[in-house]
Each structure stands twice: as structure tokens, then as C-alpha cells.
């Protein structure tokens, strides 16, 4: 019976446990949890070590953004230079272009890829379950599983000025062949629309689930009131998926500055660099190709801070406007 006595008198899950817990001191609570779950505490050591080693130590290594990093001395013993790296960065003529390219691409991507999955989900939700619906869902979902390398390769092949499908299509309507990937002005459109091609079906899944969660009685009531299909979409479906949409938008903005590297780097070439060079690709080149660790870290830190501020700002605004946020 020793087991039952060590078992804490915790109320069942549904009962309001917090009040009970608050009365006890945190220390007693911790000791009891250790007696009960010591094996689990041992279990999380390795995964926690993972987070410390691969996530938190790198955060600490960001100090080299304020130092003149020397591989011999290491990040801690290297010499402090204060904000010199940031001064150099902000006064570098490249910086303005980088910032502009990154922001325009990121905003374009978030704004363009936000409404399309919603429209797709609403359209799919309107049609009856059947082979057509299944096929559309299957096919639009599939590109999500294709790697970035392959998507970029396909883009290059499709846009090839000699034999690409897009070139042929443009030729058919009288537009002369050109190397679209070599035109800086087309880089963003190529980036964003190939991304939408790839993720539209995947993103729609979340909205389809939200739509399935809408009470059918609302639709019935609207029908009885004589609402047309479009009116029902506007007044029942859209408000119903609003909370999900807000969260997806916050996540989109939160990821805005982070997702750029892989695809931008692959789509880049010397011809389109004027618009395709963004902060993450610049960090990679400065740090790993030119081995200027301090400068690259400074740029990366700047990017992370901007990203965090954006996420907090959007979350704040979303909570004010709609009452829905990522956290309270």
C-alpha cells in the first residue's frame, strides 16, 4: 500500500486543481513531484540537454556580435568591440538593399499566401464529398511533400528560356522568350507563387478542419432566412474560421524573417542578386564563405530581434482587434 500513500491527493483532471496546489508551498509540490515522477525527470535530461546545447548555447554565442571573434581565443575570450559590428552593418550601403529585399519579399509572401488557402478551403467545403473533391485535395496537398531543391529545380526547368513550359505558353500568346530567372524584377513573383503552389493545399487543411467545426445549425438557419450561398460564406464560414486565420497570420508573420534562406539561396543567381539577396543569404555568405563570424552573427542577431518584435507586435494587434492571440 506504500504506493497509494505516495500518490498525492490530486483531484481528478476536471476538478479545479490550482486552488488546492496554491495552498501548499511550491517546495512541497516539487518534492512530491520528484518522488512520484523521478524517472520522468531523468527521462527529460537528454532532450533538455538538446535544447540547451543546440538552442540556448547558440543564443549565448551571440555575444560575438559585440566582439572581434578570434577562433583561437573562442567566443568568451575574444576582444569586445561594443557596437562596432552594428555600426559597420548599418552604414554599409548593402544594408539598405538587404533590408528592403527581405521585407518586401517577406510581406509579399505572407500577404499573398494568406488568403489563397482560405479560398481553397471554402471552395472545397462547398462541394459534396466525392471523387472530385478528393482529387483536388490530394493533388493540391502533394507538392507540400516535394523538397525545396526539387521545387526550385522544377521552377528553373519550367522557366527555361529555351524549352520551358512557361516560355512556350508565353510564346503562344505572343510574349517573346526571356530568362525570367535572370530578371531581378521577377524574382519575388517566382519565389512567392512557387511557394503558394507548394503549400496551398497543406495550409487549406487547417481551414477545412475549422470549417468542419462550424455548427451546421448556423447554415440551416441562414438558409431558412433566405441567405444565398455567397452570403452564407461571408456571414457564417468566414467569421467561423476567423480565429484560425488570425493565428495562421500571426505564425506567418512570426516566421517571416526566418523561412527565407533555403529557397532564396537556391533561386539566386548573379543576374537576379539585386532583389534576391536577403538577410539570411547574406549571413550565410558573410559567415561561412567569407568567414567573418562576428559580422554574420551581428546580421543574424539583428534579424532575430526584428523577427521577435514583429511577432510580438502582430500578436498584440491581433489580440486587440479580434481577441485572439497566440498566448494571453
Amino acid at each position: 500500500m506504500a504506493i497509494t500513500t505516495t500518490h498525492p491527493p490530486v483531484a481528478p483532471a476536471s476538478a479545479p486543481a490550482p486552488q488546492m496546489a496554491r495552498r501548499k508551498s511550491r517546495w512541497t509540490e516539487a518534492k512530491r513531484a520528484w518522488r512520484l515522477h523521478w524517472q520522468l525527470y531523468l527521462l527529460i535530461i537528454v532532450p533538455l540537454a538538446y535544447f540547451v546545447i543546440f538552442k540556448y548555447i547558440p543564443m549565448a554565442f551571440n555575444v560575438i556580435a559585440f566582439k572581434e571573434y578570434s577562433p583561437v581565443l573562442g567566443p568568451w575570450a575574444s576582444e569586445w568591440v561594443g557596437l562596432r559590428n552594428f555600426e559597420l552593418l548599418f552604414t554599409n550601403p548593402v544594408f539598405g538593399t538587404l533590408l528592403k529585399n527581405t521585407f518586401i519579399l517577406a510581406f509579399y509572401l505572407v500577404l499573398a499566401s494568406f488568403p489563397i488557402p482560405i479560398l481553397l478551403a471554402i471552395a472545397l467545403n462547398e462541394i459534396r464529398n466525392g471523387w472530385f473533391k478528393r482529387t483536388v485535395q490530394m493533388v493540391t496537398y502533394a507538392p507540400y511533400f516535394i523538397s525545396t531543391v526539387v521545387v526550385v529545380s522544377m521552377t528553373i526547368l519550367l522557366l527555361s528560356p529555351e524549352v520551358g513550359l512557361v516560355t512556350k505558353g508565353l510564346d503562344a500568346i505572343g510574349v517573346p522568350a526571356m530568362n525570367l530567372l535572370g530578371e531581378p524584377d521577377f524574382f519575388r513573383h517566382i519565389y512567392v507563387w512557387s511557394d503558394i503552389w507548394q503549400t496551398m493545399g497543406y495550409s487549406a487543411v487547417i481551414y477545412l478542419a475549422a470549417l468542419a467545426g462550424i455548427d451546421p445549425a448556423l447554415h440551416e438557419a441562414a438558409k431558412i432566412d433566405g441567405a444565398s450561398r455567397l452570403q452564407r460564406i461571408r456571414n457564417v464560414d468566414i467569421p467561423g474560421i476567423m480565429p484560425t486565420a488570425v493565428i495562421m497570420l500571426i505564425l506567418g508573420v512570426g516566421n517571416m524573417m526566418a523561412i527565407g534562406f533555403e529557397k532564396a539561396f537556391l533561386l539566386q543567381n548573379n543576374l537576379n542578386l539585386a532583389q534576391s539577396e536577403i538577410i539570411p543569404t547574406y549571413v550565410y555568405k558573410t559567415g561561412l564563405i567569407n568567414a567573418d563570424f562576428s559580422m554574420a552573427t551581428a546580421v543574424g542577431l539583428f534579424n532575430s530581434v526584428v523577427n521577435l518584435c514583429l511577432l510580438l507586435a502582430v500578436n498584440f494587434i491581433a489580440k486587440r482587434v479580434t481577441g485572439n492571440g497566440l498566448w494571453r
Partner: protein
């Protein structure tokens, strides 16, 4: 309007037709690039180079596939990617369960603090260079571990797993197992994991697809071509257009230059095939996984 009660009003039937038409257009737009690539990969090299292929193979030929499958770089890449996918998934799923399960227990002291610590890494990342320095200091550079460890645990996956454990394992089960004198690890192994097969499937699939498709870690951490995963090999051949090793003699004659071009289409098909074949069977698990995460994300 002479409609019966069951039929929808005329304007609603019209809007339904418009919706179906739009979906058909989307279907065609998504499918077109895929069909174009597949059609080209099965066509003869001269037809591909002349741009005569659109949506159906011209002068059907398997030459590109034969060339791709006899390319030593591609085979090495395939082999490495398989290793990374299998080992990486095993490591990732174990570690994810090892942290998500304790965090799902209501009496686990400190769960909120630990969760905050994890979620913060989603909001603020250490950055490329500092992470590279850690990998370098650990001596993982240019080893297979560099592909397996730095991205081993996804916070999103931890959230999915934690939500699953919290919602689908009733507390009574823990109490019953305790009364039977089972230790915590025994409970996890004999009670929780057997009940969590759908979750394990979702996690395994997510991590497998991630490993199979990722190229970034390899680009940054690997220099040795013998360790390159398929995606890096693909990048070298498809995007940088620099076939080496087994394909080095390709640039000999006109025919071989043409073959090198078709090879690219075949490689796209070969590399994406494993994932696209299993995808229809696993799509619903994926969907489920996304849902679980979305509930409390």
C-alpha cells in the same frame, strides 16, 4: 422559380458551378508542372532538348532513368538519405516522446516553465553562425551526426505529442497502473506507447519527410561528398549544373549533353517518388497531426 423544396435556389446552383470551375482550374494549374516534368523524363533526349515535350512523352525512352540510376553520386546520395531518414527519425521520435510525455503529466512539477523554455526557441533563434560554432566545437562537422543532431527535436512536434498524450490517455489509466505498482517508465512503455500508435506514426512521418527533403544542414555542415544526402547531390546536378564523378564523362558528345538535360527531369521524379508514393496513404495522419497541433497550438 419552379424549384422543388429539396433543390437549391437557382443562384446557389450557379455559384456552385462557378466554384467547381475554379477548383478545376486550380487542379490543372497544380498538376501541370508535375505532368510536364514526368512527361519530359520519359522522353528521348533529342525531343526534350528541342522542347517538343509538353504533357505527354515524345519518343518514349527510359534512357534518362538508366543514366540516373547508374550515376554513383546519385546512388551514394540515395543511400545516405536513407540512413539519415531512418536514424534521424528514430532519434527524433524518441527524444520528442521523452520530453513531450513528462510535460503532458499534470502532476509533473515545472512543466509550464519547461514548456516556456521550449517555445521561446521558436520565437528567437540562436542564428546560423552561433549554431555552426556549437556543431564545430562538438567536433560534429563533417560527420553523420551533424545531419542527425542539430535539428533533432521540433518544438511543434513536441506540442503535438504533448497535446495527444494529455487528451487521449485518461488519468484513470495512470492511477490503475500505479495501483498495480508499475514504475513510470513501465507505464510509458506498456500503457502509453501502445495507445499512441497514431501519434508515433505522425511524428515518424513528419521527421522522415523533413530528413528526406532537407538540404540546409548538409550544405552548412558537410564537406565530404561521401556523406552528402540526395538533396545536395540534386542541387549540384540540377541547380549548379555541375555533374561530377560518375557523370563526368557525360559532356563528351552531343548526345551526352542532351542526355544530361533529360537526366534532370528523371532525377526530380526519382527523388520525389518515395515520398509521393507513401503520401496518399499517410496524408490523413498528417492532417490529424496538423489538427492536434492546431487545437492547442
Amino acid at each position: 422559380m419552379s424549384t422543388t423544396k429539396i433543390r437549391e435556389p437557382f443562384r446557389d446552383r450557379m455559384s456552385l458551378i462557378v466554384i467547381k470551375l475554379m477548383l478545376a482550374v486550380v487542379l490543372v494549374l497544380v498538376l501541370m508542372p508535375l505532368v510536364y516534368i514526368v512527361a519530359n523524363s520519359f522522353s528521348s533526349p533529342p525531343a526534350v532538348n528541342a522542347g517538343r515535350v509538353s504533357f505527354w512523352p515524345v519518343e518514349f525512352s527510359l534512357e534518362a532513368y538508366r543514366a540516373a540510376l547508374s550515376n554513383s553520386e546519385v546512388l551514394t546520395g540515395y543511400y545516405n538519405s536513407l540512413i539519415y531518414a531512418i536514424a534521424g527519425t528514430a532519434i527524433s521520435v524518441s527524444l520528442t516522446v521523452a520530453i513531450a510525455y513528462p510535460l503532458s503529466r499534470k502532476t509533473f512539477f515545472g512543466r509550464n516553465v519547461i514548456m516556456t523554455v521550449l517555445i521561446f526557441t521558436m520565437l528567437f533563434s540562436g542564428g546560423l553562425i552561433p549554431t555552426y560554432m556549437v556543431v564545430n566545437n562538438l567536433g560534429l562537422l563533417d560527420t553523420r551526426w551533424a545531419m542527425l543532431l542539430p535539428g533533432a527535436i521540433g518544438v511543434w512536434q513536441v506540442i503535438i505529442a504533448r497535446t495527444f498524450f494529455a487528451n487521449s490517455i485518461p488519468d484513470e489509466l495512470y492511477e490503475a497502473a500505479m495501483l498495480d505498482g508499475a514504475s513510470e517508465l513501465r507505464v510509458l512503455r506498456s500503457v502509453v506507447l501502445p495507445l499512441s500508435k497514431p501519434l508515433l506514426a505522425v511524428l515518424a512521418l513528419m521527421y522522415t519527410v523533413y530528413q528526406w527533403n532537407s538540404y540546409f544542414d548538409a550544405l552548412v555542415y558537410l564537406k565530404d561528398p561521401d556523406l552528402f544526402p540526395l538533396q545536395i547531390v540534386l542541387r549540384n546536378i540540377l541547380i549548379l549544373n555541375t555533374p561530377r564523378g560518375g557523370a563526368g564523362d557525360l559532356a563528351q558528345s552531343m548526345h551526352q549533353i542532351q542526355l544530361a538535360n533529360v537526366l534532370r527531369y528523371a532525377l526530380i521524379v526519382i527523388s520525389s517518388l518515395p515520398v509521393l508514393i507513401i503520401y496518399p496513404f499517410v496524408a490523413r495522419y498528417f492532417t490529424k497531426g496538423v489538427m492536434v497541433g492546431a487545437v492547442k497550438g
